[in-house]
Symmetry: C2
Subunit: 326 residues, 2 copies
């Protein structure tokens, strides 16, 4: 079964990437990964992160390349490499400056979440009490993202903001990493209504394998995960579902504090730790197990190929090319 999927594309990871992890991606059969390069970092800090990525590309150019267009996935596969697509999990990197979107797009950024758990300048986050929807700047930012070819990602946003983003955006949007509420109810999970709206607008959701997003957390079974995938497929169509593993391989636990608290809070949680991955999805090498699990539960091979990569590939094709003439 392994290796029969034409393309494997992961819709979101936040690994501390290294030659070793890139090799594991290859072992898992991955052809493309959307990687998070920033959470709460301001513009200059995100540029420093990009500089580190540029060094990685230089040092590991036998294994990875920067992805700019969907067609780079094929290019990467042909040279036995992985295409890496940059994304931001919050809008801190554009500060209050809409012109930074195009600058960041030129530097390779292809995804941006409009908010991360909290209220942002653009949208509400999924942990806010009140979701005021897309802000004035948010609406303009969506138009600009559509123009330049950057994906609106609402994984950590509130429901109302997400529905409005779908409405405003002329291109399909993504929820790169989340699971449905019907399976595991959390503020980060997505309602049936939202998922259906996403699919009607030709969007894609990537199912998360981050333990806190799984029913039973680290003890979640592959069977339970695959049943959830099947039920979502019935609900919104198999063309609109994919994987966004949210893998955080190799990150020190301080990173979790940064993700959760950034610089916006003085309160410290008890030192958080990354939860243990379920035994059937420990790291990048385990993508074939998900393919196997989906086949096992009754998906056809062609459907598994869509879920594991084909759907993201189609979505990327609609997403990254600038709409402006230039």
């Amino acid at each position: 079964m392994t290796g029969t999927t034409p393309y494997i594309v992961d819709g979101l990871q936040y690994c501390r990437c290294s030659r070793e992890i890139f090799k594991q991606m290859r072992q898992g059969g991955l052809d493309a990964v959307h990687v998070t390069i920033s959470y709460h970092e301001l513009f200059r800090e995100t540029v420093a992160n990009i500089e580190k990525w540029n060094r990685l590309f230089e040092d590991c150019n036998d294994l990875v390349m920067l992805g700019r267009l969907a067609s780079d996935i094929e290019k990467a596969k042909k040279s036995q490499r992985i295409a890496i697509f940059f994304g931001l999990q919050n809008c801190s990197s554009i500060e209050d400056d809409i012109g930074l979107l195009e600058v960041l797009h030129s530097l390779g950024v292809r995804f941006m979440q409009l908010s991360y758990n909290n209220q942002s300048l653009l949208a509400s986050g999924c942990y806010e009490q009140e979701d005021g929807g897309i802000t004035r700047m948010g609406a303009e930012v969506i138009v600009e993202m559509n123009r330049i070819g950057m994906v609106v990602d609402m994984s950590h946003s509130g429901e109302r903001s997400s529905l409005q983003a779908i409405e405003i955006s002329e291109r399909p949007i993504a929820i790169t990493h989340a699971n449905p509420s019907f399976w595991h109810e959390t503020p980060r999970s997505k309602s049936e209504h939202l998922l259906k709206s996403l699919a009607v607008a030709d969007g894609v959701i990537g199912f998360s394998l981050y333990p806190y997003h799984l029913l039973g957390h680290s003890d979640c079974t592959l069977h339970s995960f695959c049943r959830m995938v099947a039920r979502t497929a019935e609900m919104i169509g198999v063309e609109h579902i994919a994987i966004g593993s949210d893998l955080c391989q190799g990150q020190p636990s301080e990173e979790l504090q940064w993700m959760r608290k950034g610089r916006w809070s003085k309160q410290q949680d008890e030192p958080p730790k990354f939860p243990q991955q379920p035994e059937w999805f420990r790291d990048n090498r385990d993508f074939p197990k998900i393919a196997a699990g989906l086949l096992e539960i009754g998906f056809a091979q062609t459907e598994v190929e869509k879920i594991l990569g084909g759907n993201w590939l189609c979505f990327f094709e609609k997403s990254f090319t600038p709409s402006k003439s230039a």
Copy 2:
């Protein structure tokens, strides 16, 4: 005569660009211009300048496009547009961070002067008493510029620094805008020894039309300018000479203060003014007059074509493609 030159390329301008100036470039027959986007601006300020340029490209995409490769000149010409290549007149934009070179290259920057009149982190400037040559960081920056495809420009650097840059650089370097000392002796002018060394290393000098660089300043005659071009051609070969007009159309006089003093000095000159252009080269529309002057003085048509654009085109072809595999 007008329009018989296949390509007209200006090796340096610092105009306050606008639709009107772009139209004048077209009237002058220009196909490509290296434009200065920053002098003493730090990285974030240069990004803000690029944002303004991005707006100009969006608003005037019937007239101009960002040039990334030499082949963009042909692409621009075919669509009746001008390819604009970004450059920095000082190294302030990279601060003390070598990784910013690749970031700025991704944003379109294709030229950087290692110093501007003063000592910089990389090299000495042409107005310093002492020229210590290329610094430790400077040597590494040249190697990195060679790797990514960014031109080392020594127009405002000291002689010793310039000779060392030629020595260290594996790619040919440029003096985008300056004139020879034999014609008009100033600290900004270039010695015979430097010009010969530049040419031996396959570099190019662009002759400046900034009045202070001209013999007799605003009163300089076209004939005198063309005789200087002819003498330089005899000295270093017609393949190594070009135009770098240093046109500063539309700039307010405060800009001259910024160019000269940046933030490095508390001393103010008496409010400087941009000098008046000679009557035969008022602005971008007058390029054909230079072509005419060069023919008049005895250059062959093919030589004029090289000087007006062909030599820069060849030089750009050797300069902008990253040498790294990617």
